[in-house]
């Protein structure tokens, strides 16, 4: 598939090197800091779940109690498992209840008490890791017992707000041809500094991501996968203030793909940049371990910025996401880099420009399961015109060998999709695949035609921007509004108060075990 655009390999290598230079200082930041959500993820991996009568999870209660009493700069694990041992607690839940009531005095254990706490903590967290490993093996077993659908995978969204409505809709979508079901989250969730508990039936424009909702949907899709003889993947969002915890729950409950972008929360949710980069590294380590494919969010830049003017910012962000992802242990096959079909249809040659952008990204990231997003910005209330635009999007997707096609809805921006909207959307993509599925193999843009020239221009602009970011620093570039036309300073945004610099002797058994992720994930 590669080599249709005559890209200069030296320039491509230079782009990667520049991305590394821009991103490396941020990785250092992530290695020297922790966050409240990273620490709560440790407790979740050790099996602490449930919530108090106000719905506040016990992981929050316990982590808050530790933070108040001894701080989090040494990590939550040592004080918690020291209290377990010295207090003779049977389980974390009982400790959390007492801690929330102010009955536990936490301390930093030293010497042989420290070693005892360290060993017990590592053993407890290991149980979570073992479950994640077992779920990864179970996915392989299910894939073998059913089948792995050919690419492009058809990605469909359900978003009723009620998990018990989502389930039959997801199953119906799978029967109609969806390979991947994404349960859109309630839009407020990214700003919650806790993960809600239990099966939920009330959400706004989406359904809350909870461990129980994950479990219910995965079980239902397992039934449907067996019924269809085709493995249906499940997607959710590891983003927002609880990114590390949600990543952990996804690994524990065998989700298959997770939205997980290096900058999305910063730009679009005004979450503090430092918090985001720390949370992101941990969550990607979990995803690497769990065999979860991440989906990045570059498509979003094109919803605020112009899709032609800002095309290079997509490539730059993809190169950053690739660096951060590989550094955290993700294999190229787990990097679902995102982009979108968002050029104004009034622009002359808009389809050719879309082809240029999509083919460029395909050639830059040959082994990545690219995720291609349908038009949203230029979808109007004219559902008939929208249906046509979605067909062109599908055509561009198959011609440029995109891996994951998010299926566009003709009623985009009007309402959450009707059952019939989804059915019509699937009919659209099935037609395009049937009619033009092999077209990519015969599609050869003129070596110096509009498509190839445009692709090379975007690559050149990307290298220029990466050079600029490298010289000013990534955090400063974000503060200057480089991405998504939104300025986000490193000391602004939500969640900064949850960032803690690691002290000497910081201990995080989950991070330790994730740094030694099995080799096959790193290939």
């Amino acid at each position: 598939m590669t080599g249709k655009l005559n890209l200069d390999p030296a320039l491509v290598a230079q782009a990667r090197e520049l991305a590394k230079r821009a991103a490396a200082p941020v990785v250092k930041l992530a290695r020297t800091h922790t966050t409240v959500s990273v620490e709560r993820a440790v407790l979740r991996l050790a099996g602490l779940d449930g919530a108090d009568e106000d719905g506040m999870p016990w992981v929050n209660r316990l982590a808050d109690a530790v933070r108040e009493s001894t701080g989090l700069e040494h990590g939550v694990a040592l004080p918690v498992w020291d209290a377990m041992l010295t207090g003779g607690y049977p389980d974390l839940r009982t400790l959390a209840v007492d801690a929330a009531a102010g009955l536990v005095k936490f301390r930093q254990p030293a010497g042989h008490e420290g070693n005892a706490a360290r060993d017990t903590a590592a053993r407890s967290v290991k149980k979570g890791m073992t479950r994640i490993d077992a779920q990864r093996a179970e996915r392989d077993r299910m894939l073998a017992a059913t089948s792995d659908p050919p690419m492009p995978w058809i990605y469909l969204i359900v978003a009723t707000g009620d998990i018990y409505e989502d389930i039959p809709q997801a199953q119906a979508a799978a029967r109609e041809g969806a390979d991947i079901i994404a349960v859109i989250r309630s839009t407020g969730q990214s700003l919650l500094d806790y993960v809600p508990e239990g099966a939920t039936r009330e959400g706004y424009a989406g359904t809350y991501a909870t461990q129980e909702n994950f479990r219910l949907m995965r079980a239902a899709l397992d039934d449907t996968s067996r019924e269809l003889g085709r493995y249906i993947r499940l997607t959710n969002y590891a983003s927002g203030l609880c990114m590390p915890e949600i990543a952990s729950l996804a690994g524990l409950e065998r989700l298959d793909m997770m939205l997980n972008d290096c900058m999305y929360g910063i730009i679009f949710r005004d979450i503090n940049p430092v918090r985001t980069f720390i949370d992101q590294r941990f969550s990607r380590q979990v995803h690497a371990r769990a065999g979860i494919v991440i989906n990045t969010g570059e498509d979003n830049y094109l919803t605020t910025a112009d899709a032609v003017d800002a095309a290079h910012t997509v490539v730059v962000s993809q190169l950053l996401n690739e660096y951060f992802g590989r550094e955290a242990g993700l294999a190229d096959g787990q990097l679902g880099l995102g982009h979108a079909f968002e050029i104004n249809p009034e622009v002359p040659d808009s389809f050719m420009l879309e082809l240029a952008h999509a083919q460029l990204i395909r050639e830059l990231f040959p082994d990545a399961p690219l995720k291609y997003m349908p038009p949203t910005k230029h979808m109007t209330g004219n559902v008939f015109a929208g249906y046509l635009l979605d067909a062109f999007f599908n055509l561009c997707g198959v011609m440029t060998d995109q891996s994951i096609l998010l299926i566009g809805m003709m009623t985009e921006g009007i309402h959450t999709p009707f059952l019939s909207d989804r059915d019509l959307a699937l009919e659209n993509v099935r037609y395009v695949r049937r009619a033009a599925g092999q077209l990519g193999q015969e599609f050869r843009p003129e070596p110096d035609g509009l498509v190839a020239r445009r692709a090379r221009q975007v690559l050149g602009e990307s290298v220029d921007l990466l050079r600029k970011i490298g010289s000013q620093g990534l955090l400063n570039a974000i503060a200057a509004g480089t991405f998504g036309v939104t300025k986000r300073p490193p000391d602004g945004g939500r969640g900064l108060d949850g960032v803690v610099e690691r002290a000497d002797g910081y201990f995080n058994p989950a991070a330790d075990q994730l740094e030694t992720t099995p080799l096959e994930a790193k290939q």
């Binding site: 119906a172 839009t187 706004y204 605020t304 059915d423």
Partner: protein, 256 residues
């Protein structure tokens, strides 16, 4: 064709009353008997909606429990144009240069607009279409107007944060967008927002403008805001409204 008379939908002949309709019924579309029953059900609904005659031109089962229909039919209803009520626009739409001129002569400083999506709505397309330089429908957004200073707070902004920012920026106007909402959250969010501004500023509050496809433009008073914009609003309409609302009696103030 009369603009005050009686009209009917137009298919391909004046007065033919032909319309199209699509919907889903929770009925199976499996064997022949089920199919006949499903089409009968669709025709019954069409008849109750006033389509007579009606024709099911497309029926398709969606999974075991649902059927999608496309129906064409003739409605007998008459549209009385003289009985149509529209909210007349109480202000003229002005070119950008005129907007800038009026602000400069009436205020003698830049007009300050603070915009945000409030509540859980993360869809900034609406507010961005109005505020960003990029604009919408071929028109540049408010950032493009030399005499307007724009503070775009983005999505999921808390009402308290919006009020505080409006005060800090000495906002003349606050623009709030609500695009995708469920269970009428756009209405409760707007009421919460307007109540907070009334409480914090009293009569000195900024002009409150909300926009989004789900709002009824005539409900401004009910929601405690000054103006509601619906689907398809362009930046110049908003800019012209702001000039209308904030500078109309500038001449009087100047004379006093």
């Amino acid at each position: 064709m009369s603009l005050t008379g009686i009209v009917r939908p137009y298919g391909d002949t004046t007065g033919d009353g032909r319309v199209q309709l699509s919907f889903t019924l929770p009925v199976p579309f499996g064997d022949e008997a089920e199919r006949a029953r499903a089409e009968g059900a669709a025709l019954q609904l069409a008849a109750k909606m006033g389509l007579d005659p009606a024709m099911v031109v497309h029926a398709k089962g969606m999974g075991p429990d649902f059927t999608f229909f496309i129906v064409y039919g003739r409605v007998s209803h008459l549209v009385d144009l003289s009985a149509v009520t529209v909210a007349e626009r109480e202000f003229p739409v002005l070119p950008a240069a005129e907007v800038n001129l009026r602000i400069r002569s009436a205020l003698g400083r830049k007009l300050v607009v603070v915009g945000a999506c409030i509540g859980t709505d993360a869809h900034t397309v609406g507010i961005d279409a109005i505020l960003n330089v990029k604009g919408h429908a071929g028109e540049k957004g408010l950032e493009y107007y030399r005499e307007i200073r724009v503070v775009n707070m983005g999505s999921q902004v808390g009402v308290a944060d919006l009020v505080a920012r409006a005060a800090a920026e000495h906002a003349d106007a606050v623009l709030v967008s609500q695009v995708v909402t469920q269970r009428d959250a756009h209405l409760s969010n707007t009421r919460e927002m307007s109540a907070a501004f009334h409480a914090a500023f009293g009569l000195q509050r900024p002009v409150l403008v909300v926009g989004g496809p789900r709002f009824d433009p005539s409900a401004a008073q009910d929601l405690g805001v000054d103006k509601i914009f619906g689907r398809g609003t362009t930046p110049s309409e908003v800019a012209s409204y702001l000039v209308h609302a904030l500078t109309p009696d500038a001449a009087q103030r100047g004379a006093a």
